[in-house]
């Protein structure tokens, strides 16, 4: 058993033992999960320091002659950054959860779900082939379902969990088609092998474009891109640490990570690549617009996550852009991934901060019921403000560098650069709105008045993440992901422009919302999220429920009554002619039926023989 396999399987063992053995011992189960997360973090740090990362282990899952599907581990390049994000932030969130979920009745179930998630997410990062990635992709989906629906007795939580699962399945439908197309064309699903085959052979461009587009559907679902973004805001029904880990830092970023794994395919599928760019850009824009009008602190952060994911997806899409016979390739996808990396820190920090605020405000989530929290909750507030600045792309925090890298890539398509810059302005704007309303002014409800700083156990993760939010963009980490030759560490005017955009957003947000006690400029269409949820509900009613209803009617009327009962009537008619033989009970019929069949068989047999 290799170290990598231990990192993969340990959380599964923890999840299983929590679910089956420790259901009644809630505290112990919490420690088991947290311990497993800690061990995984330590082992990961050891693994990353290794110079030779070959032969990390492989397990043959399915084998039929030449057809093999393996659970094989591949870890290199961006995967190292991703596994660090998963285990580090994962561990911090376990720690935070020990405090946040202290009193929860379903604590064992909760930690079991967290461990299951760690297992699944690690599997995605480790996957050396598309089939394995799909397996863990689905498992991530189910752990997300379980954790969103943690408070299943609440109707909203139950509905949100279900919705997340459905929407993700739609994306996975496309993902699987993409995998199958690749399998059909290449006869392999292994990343290294496909890349090799692609380099040495000629493949139909149309098919490649379709495959990449279908695979991208998986990312649309999991990374909540338009038009499948609707599940993520609802997913905020889950406990806040879950929102931080799964619905901000790791799972939703899996789509971006997956795209970087199939980079070599995107490079040769320019049409699909530009779809990817535009989907990302549109998501970034729409989500940022919607974020400006939300009142629930977690919803604002959720839309912000959507918007930032859009940035990342857009950047990765640039991998398919060819300029002067050279693909932007790795530099584009690395820029996208770098934003994933920095975003993981400051967004997890924002979510945990909001969790701390919600915890302190007796589970109040409406920002207009908060206010003045910087007084009683100094540490939480300051870390939150730092994360906000990082998200707004203020120099020299981490978000600045990654956003800068993406903008440098976007320079190649002016329209996307404009959208990207406008989104950067909106980001700074809506985050400032949130901070001004929540931290400054006066408390607007009793729950905000009574708020006090959260316990140390919850503060530690905040502080650790703050370090990441500040420094994750510095040269040592920058050069890990981004080739400084292709995208230089920021210089020239671009950094000034970016910072100026961020500052403009902050200043306008500050002056528009200072001293307000309610939304001063309500914009219905944004607050109602462009009515997309309502439209989707109508579409589902028409295209699924109504069609299903019609199918059921057909089934009952046509197929059952006409075809079958018609046939049956014929038989009963014949039966009634033979009424003389009727023995009056069902046993008799059945017995005769059996005897009859065997008799007929025997006679026919004898006749032919």
């Amino acid at each position: 058993m290799t170290t990598a396999f231990i990192i993969l399987l340990l959380p599964l063992v923890a999840a299983a033992s929590n679910l089956f053995l420790l259901r009644k011992k809630a505290n112990l189960s919490a420690y088991v999960s947290t311990l497993s997360a800690a061990i995984c973090l330590v082992l990961t740090l050891g693994l990353i320091r290794q110079s030779d990362l070959k032969d990390l282990g492989s397990f043959n899952w399915i084998k039929i002659a030449d057809f093999e599907l393996n659970i094989g581990i591949e870890l290199q390049g961006l995967g190292l950054g991703m596994i660090l994000v998963v285990t580090l932030i994962g561990f911090l969130i376990h720690l935070f959860s020990l405090g946040y979920m202290r009193e929860d009745a379903g604590k064992a179930r909760y930690f079991s779900g967290l461990s299951l998630f760690m297992f699944s997410m690690t599997g995605i990062v480790f996957a050396d082939n598309l089939a394995m990635m799909f397996i863990f992709w689905e498992l991530v989906g189910v752990s997300s379902y379980l954790l969103i629906g943690h408070w299943y007795h609440k109707n909203t939580a139950a509905e949100a969990a279900k919705k997340a699962f459905f929407v993700n399945r739609i994306g996975d439908f496309g993902f699987m088609i993409g995998i199958l197309l690749i399998w059909g064309a290449f006869g392999s699903v292994n990343f290294v092998e496909i890349e090799e085959l692609l380099r040495n052979g000629k493949y139909d461009a149309g098919l490649l474009n379709w495959s990449v587009f279908c695979i991208f559907c998986g990312a649309i679902g999991k990374s909540a891109q338009v038009p499948l973004h609707v599940w993520l805001p609802d997913a905020m029904e889950g406990p806040t640490p879950v929102s931080a880990l799964i619905h901000a830092a790791t799972m939703v970023a899996a789509g971006v990570f997956m795209l970087t794994k199939v980079l070599f395919l995107i490079q040769v599928a320019p049409t699909a690549a530009s779809v990817i760019q535009y989907v990302g850009a549109i998501t970034a824009l729409i989500a940022a617009l919607m974020a400006t009008q939300q009142n629930d602190i977690k919803k604002i952060l959720a839309y912000s996550t959507l918007s930032q994911l859009g940035y990342m997806i857009m950047a990765v899409g640039f991998a398919g852009l060819w300029i002067g016979g050279e693909s932007l390739g790795e530099s584009a996808s690395n820029a996208g991934f770098f934003h994933l990396y920095t975003h993981a820190f400051f967004k997890a920090l924002l979510f945990l901060g909001s969790g701390a605020i919600i915890y302190a405000c007796h589970h109040e989530q409406n920002i207009w019921k908060m206010g003045g929290l910087i007084g009683p909750m100094k540490i939480t507030s300051i870390t939150f403000l730092i994360a906000t600045a990082a998200l707004a792309g203020i120099y020299p925090l981490s978000g600045f560098y990654s956003k800068d890298a993406i903008m440098t890539v976007a320079l190649n398509k002016p329209i996307l650069l404009v959208i990207g810059s406008f989104v950067a302005f909106l980001t700074a704007f809506y985050m400032t709105r949130l901070c001004v309303v929540v931290f400054f002014g006066k408390a607007r409800s009793w729950s905000a008045e009574e708020a006090k700083e959260v316990p140390l156990l919850m503060l530690v993760p905040l502080l650790v993440l703050t370090i990441g939010a500040i420094f994750a963009g510095q040269t040592f980490s920058y050069s890990w992901f981004v080739d400084p030759k292709k995208i230089p560490h920021p210089e020239g005017v671009l950094p000034f422009i970016l910072t100026a955009i961020g500052v403009a957003g902050i200043v306008s947000g500050f002056f528009l919302y200072r001293g307000r006690d309610q939304e001063p400029y309500p914009v219905q269409v944004l607050a109602k999220k462009f009515y997309l949820d309502e439209i989707y509900i109508i579409l589902v009613r028409i295209f699924q429920d109504a069609v299903a209803w019609v199918a059921k009617q057909i089934d009952e009327l046509l197929i059952d009554k006409l075809l079958v009962r018609g046939g049956a009537r014929l038989v009963t008619e014949i039966g009634s002619m033979l009424r003389g033989m009727q023995s009056g009970n069902l046993q008799g019929y059945a017995f005769l039926f059996g005897v009859g069949v065997i008799l007929v068989l025997y006679i026919i047999n004898a006749a032919i023989g």
């Binding site: 089939a131 498992l139 429920d545 059952d560 023989g609």
Partner: protein
């Protein structure tokens, strides 16, 4: 010998109960013994590989035409034997001591006979007995539905399934006779499946002949598997059947049709399949998409499960239509996985029916806190059924899909059908999670409260979940026994 024993034990136990032995205990003893024997057989198959028939016995009944009563297993039969003994054990285990009317004999004899019939059909080396054993298993099915079924319509439903499956058997019989008479050479006629297959390979029947023998065979077997549009018997029959019978028929007996197609129709009439490929692809999509939609609009849990089982048969047909070992082995794994998961779901559904006065989804709600074990188990079963990785169902679906795209440089009819069939994974998630959400989640004050106490037996439930997980994590346990 050991296979003869496996077939005989339930019959002997049934006789013993008929002569006055204690009902449930005898049945459970027999099912337990068979479970052990089944595991031994599987162990031997794993050791030797499943290409060859092993444990073969035969008694010649007629010389020419050659009719022999004999049993043997290869990998495919072995997998189905394992399925049968597990489901039988679980079905017998959850059956109460007495029938609702207080009678004992028939109530415990029937599941044993269904099991014996299925085992006989899966292990017979002779075409005649393959057919006859399946017929034997149908009789107790009808009786149990007619006598101990749920709901006022049970007699009508028993009749419906009798006529339906009777017609199916008749069509099948016609096909078998045509097959048998065409595969007679030099005045030597045989019913032995292995010999028939060998003759078919050397004789190479004309495409046209194969085409017209294949059709009744496929439709006959298909009707028994609830192939669209001949599926409407299944859901009401399962909804009405006593729990043990629903488990055994949906879980085991229905697989007979698929087994027959893989054992008889496909190897003996390969060109016959080619001629009807288009039609078959349309019909299996009818199972998956159309019946899937019908499933979505069901309002009762039992009907929904019945329809879902019809829907999933479409994937097994898809595996068969791949015409390669990847697809076929996937189909066999699917039979195994689906058999267990649907039996598990019916067991849990039966337990719910026992405790509630209704299975109407809109009237039940928030049961998790009241029946936690049932809720968790149902969650496992639901996720198995919608093909979550970790369960055997997922492994089988993936194998079938990869089989459909094996070596497919371009998207042909089979691949198009597979893509459409994939939409079924969305459909099944919709109805399963909707049902789960309605029954177990949400407000617990909504809807009905439980009327009776928890009497669910945990052992069979845990056993079925464990096997689904084991074969889901290690599908090679099953696949390595199948030919490749």
């Amino acid at each position: 010998m050991i296979i003869d024993l496996i077939v005989l034990i339930p019959i002997i136990a049934a006789l013993a109960i008929g002569l006055g032995a204690e009902g449930r205990k005898t049945a459970l003893g027999a099912a337990g013994a068979n479970l052990i024997l089944g595991v031994i057989v599987i162990g031997e198959l794993m050791r030797r590989g499943g290409e060859e028939l092993i444990f073969e016995t035969s008694t010649v009944i007629l010389e020419n035409p050659k009719l022999t009563l004999g049993f043997a297993v290869d990998g495919m039969s072995g997998v189905l034997v394992l399925l049968t003994v597990i489901v039988t054990f679980c079905a017998v285990y959850i059956s109460p001591e007495k029938a609702p009317d207080g009678r004992v004999k028939l109530y415990h004899i029937s599941p044993l006979l269904i099991s014996a019939g299925a085992l006989g059909a899966f292990c017979s080396t002779d075409l005649f007995f393959l057919f006859a054993f399946h017929e034997l298993a149908l009789i107790p099915t009808f009786l149990m539905i007619g006598i101990y079924g749920h709901g006022r319509e049970r007699l009508a439903i028993a009749w419906k399934i009798t006529i339906y499956l009777g017609v199916g058997s008749l069509v099948l019989l016609g096909g078998l006779i045509a097959l048998y008479s065409n595969l007679t050479s030099d005045g030597f006629a045989t019913f032995k499946i292995a010999e028939l297959t060998a003759i078919a390979e050397t004789m190479q029947l004309d495409q046209e002949v194969q085409k017209w023998i294949f059709l009744p065979l496929f439709l006959g077997f298909g009707i028994l598997v609830s192939l669209f549009p001949f599926h409407s018997w299944a859901a009401p029959a399962y909804a009405s059947a006593p729990t043990s019978v629903a488990m055994l028929h949906a879980g085991v007996l229905k697989k007979f049709g698929l087994y027959g197609i893989l054992r008889v129709a496909m190897p003996m009439l390969p060109k016959g399949f080619e001629a009807w490929e288009g039609l078959i692809l349309v019909l299996l999509l009818g199972n998956i998409i159309y019946v899937g939609l019908v499933t979505i609009s069901q309002r009762h849990l039992d009907r929904m499960l019945g329809n879902s089982s019809v829907m999933h048969m479409g994937y097994a047909f898809l595996g068969i239509a791949c015409v390669n070992h990847i697809g076929w082995n996937g189909a066999v794994l699917m039979m195994f996985a689906h058999g267990l998961s649907i039996a598990l779901l019916f067991a849990l559904c039966g337990s719910l029916r026992e405790r509630l006065n209704t299975l109407e989804l809109s009237e039940i709600g928030g049961l998790t806190s009241k029946v936690p074990f049932l809720a968790v188990s149902f969650g496992f079963a639901a996720f198995a059924s919608i093909g979550l990785p970790g369960f055997a169902n997922f492994a089988s679906e993936v194998t079938i899909l990869f089989g459909a795209f094996n070596g497919a440089g371009e998207v042909g009819n089979l691949q198009k059908a597979a893509i459409l069939a994939l939409w079924g994974v969305v459909i099944s998630a919709v109805y399963m999670l909707r049902a789960y959400r309605n029954i177990f989640q949400g407000d617990s004050t909504r809807g009905l409260t439980l009327v009776r106490r928890d009497s669910l037996n945990k052992i069979p439930i845990i056993l079925m979940i464990a096997v689904l997980l084991l074969t889901g994590f290690f599908p090679n346990l099953i696949l390595s026994m199948l030919p490749s």
